[in-house]
Symmetry: C3
Subunit: 267 residues, 3 copies
């Protein structure tokens, strides 16, 4: 599957036109920056975590993003309820298993969300993805070349078992489903010095999945846009503070020409 | 009632001089940006939500701002307790009914806060204000020209019933009490691409109400300052990232001359 | 004890090389800016507050930072559990007693965390530090010259009783232990107009304490770096919005030469 600049830009136009509501149950650290990134790309973010209202909020949303970055019991209940409602309604569910592998609580919660919630898209770094299957959690925290292969194998098993798309983000972002694998080589190392850009990537997957039928294509497009905007922002930034600002400005004004110039896909 | 640049600037000077403590029980998404905006205008923000301490915190505050953007049961209890203490102490209470109309939980909580808490100022967008009275909640989410009229009628009923000031923010901000209505035409569309600027507006209403006896004048001044700073910031911003930064810088350095040059009031 | 630029820069290099994991249980307002400052200096921030996982998270951390800025019961339980684990493991614990003296809840919690948790470093402003001992809490909220002397006396008692380092931050930052006192005169008034830079200072104490055996030296280095980066950022900022951004950029690129040029220590 080849994703080209015209297709990516078509989805951006759809987001800007339709302003899909993306419901986020996410962590405290990134709520503000996630909402700002969704607004910048043209989506309508909502944040609501109370069990009393998640069902209704899912009902007005076109995508649901679940992020386990700052977990606690009440939030987990709401996550399960929201995922259940989203599956029933038929909107895409994106899971960001932040810190899976770092603590048993996170690993267990992420795995249960996958088993019982059947997310449409799972996005994490290599160590997080490896923690989602079997006893891979032992290899936590290190992202070596070997780990990359292990992560891809794990992602493929996850994709086959749960009929979902898995994205392993890193220097190369891998988008994986039951049959295919696609690599995107955009992005910049300075992006790792801004907190929550991984969470932003997951939220953008939600925005693209809201306007694009194929979850695989939606994930690839979101990751390409993240990488391109990050790369363009880094080029004019003197550190992580200005990167964060420039990233939002560029996301807001991204053109088809920008995408054309920067897109680096490997099949 | 006419508000002029000199009167607005006098209140800014009072805020900068007195640094009034504004106690916020607000949502997770905007806590940081709200605190920064209050600091930039010269106020002293405090954030505290535990039932164990809200009474004492209200006691050292000159205004209380309640924002229901990310609700849950414990927070609601604290909001009622804080509002009760604030009314008893006689300091202004500002209510921001974020998302009223979107879920029954929010609509009900906002209405109860109004009925039992008697806020001094209520600030929301048209759909939120419409959700606060009767069965207007059915019209949620759409801000058409007709809705604007409905919203104004709803705001007038609210103002009469609860002896409060209601502000409907939008392209024109309407400040409404039992007898009057004032329109402020400042602001810029790019402001809608930064999360939480509505919440910031409510917080600034708190800062102005802390130093100004008339809640109507305080609300008008706060909304004028929001709009002018946003407009000036947009003029030098290349997107929502830089707008957010420039807004704080401009708020911090706002002069009487700036206000004079930009103020657009319609009676 | 004299801290010079070479020693400070050596610690920065150690942080950049080792990327120590700093576990933060901190307040909602500053989570994002704290994480970004830790990333900018080269550390690896984690945020986790659930009682179910704090023990494991402490176990992968090289420092623990506890900040009571937005307290509630569940969070307090986790703070005690985390501090207990950190002491057992032998990693430094930094306490930021935000708002101690403002409410009994905060004062009591901060004092209990000191009594039962024996933090390695305590960092607060003069009124917060004064609230931590005896009946000093009555003098809350005012930072006069006299208060500065009272604060130093309180800090010395705290340091003696609890064998810890106490930092009183202000125009001059005082680093105090059982025997010594050091003043750092870096920083800029505009820093007080950005929310959470005090919290950032405490988090940086965590990063430096993770790579430096002496808690006294670690605190002095962290405060010097905060002040220098803030000062350099203020020089090119037109307000608190740009200060926040420039601060992160400068932290990320700070050189030994920068420190040499700006360091102002008084013995």
């Amino acid at each position: 599957m080849i994703i080209n600049a015209a297709q990516i830009y078509k989805s951006i136009e759809a987001i800007r036109m339709q302003a899909p509501v993306v419901h986020n149950i996410t962590n405290y650290v990134v709520m503000n920056s996630t909402a700002n990134a969704l607004l910048a790309i043209g989506a309508s973010p909502v944040m609501a975590h109370a069990e009393e209202e998640v069902a209704e909020m899912v009902n007005i949303a076109q995508a649901l993003v679940i992020n386990i970055g700052t977990l606690s019991e009440l939030w987990i209940s709401s996550m399960f309820k929201a995922v259940h409602c989203a599956r029933k309604k038929g909107i895409p569910v994106i899971l960001d298993p932040v810190g899976a592998g770092a603590t048993a609580y996170r690993t267990r919660t992420a795995r249960e969300l996958i088993d019982r919630g059947q997310p449409t898209i799972i996005r994490g770094n290599a160590s997080e993805i490896m923690a989602l299957y079997d006893d891979r959690s032992k290899t936590k925290g290190v992202d070596s070349a070997t780990d990359s292969d292990v992560a891809i194998a794990t992602a493929q098993k996850l994709a086959q078992t749960h009929k979902c798309v898995v994205c392993i983000s890193g220097a190369t972002d891998y988008i994986i489903d039951e049959e295919k694998i696609l690599g995107i080589k955009n992005g910049h190392p300075l992006m790792t010095k801004v907190t929550g850009l991984g969470c932003t990537a997951s939220a953008l997957c939600g925005a693209f999945a809201a306007v694009e039928k194929s979850p695989f294509a939606a994930t690839a497009k979101a990751m390409a846009v993240m990488g391109i905007a990050g790369e363009m922002a880094a080029a004019t930034s003197s550190g992580p503070g200005s990167l964060q600002l420039n990233f939002l400005d560029i996301l807001y004004r991204l053109t088809e020409d920008d995408i054309n110039k920067h897109l680096k896909i490997e099949d």
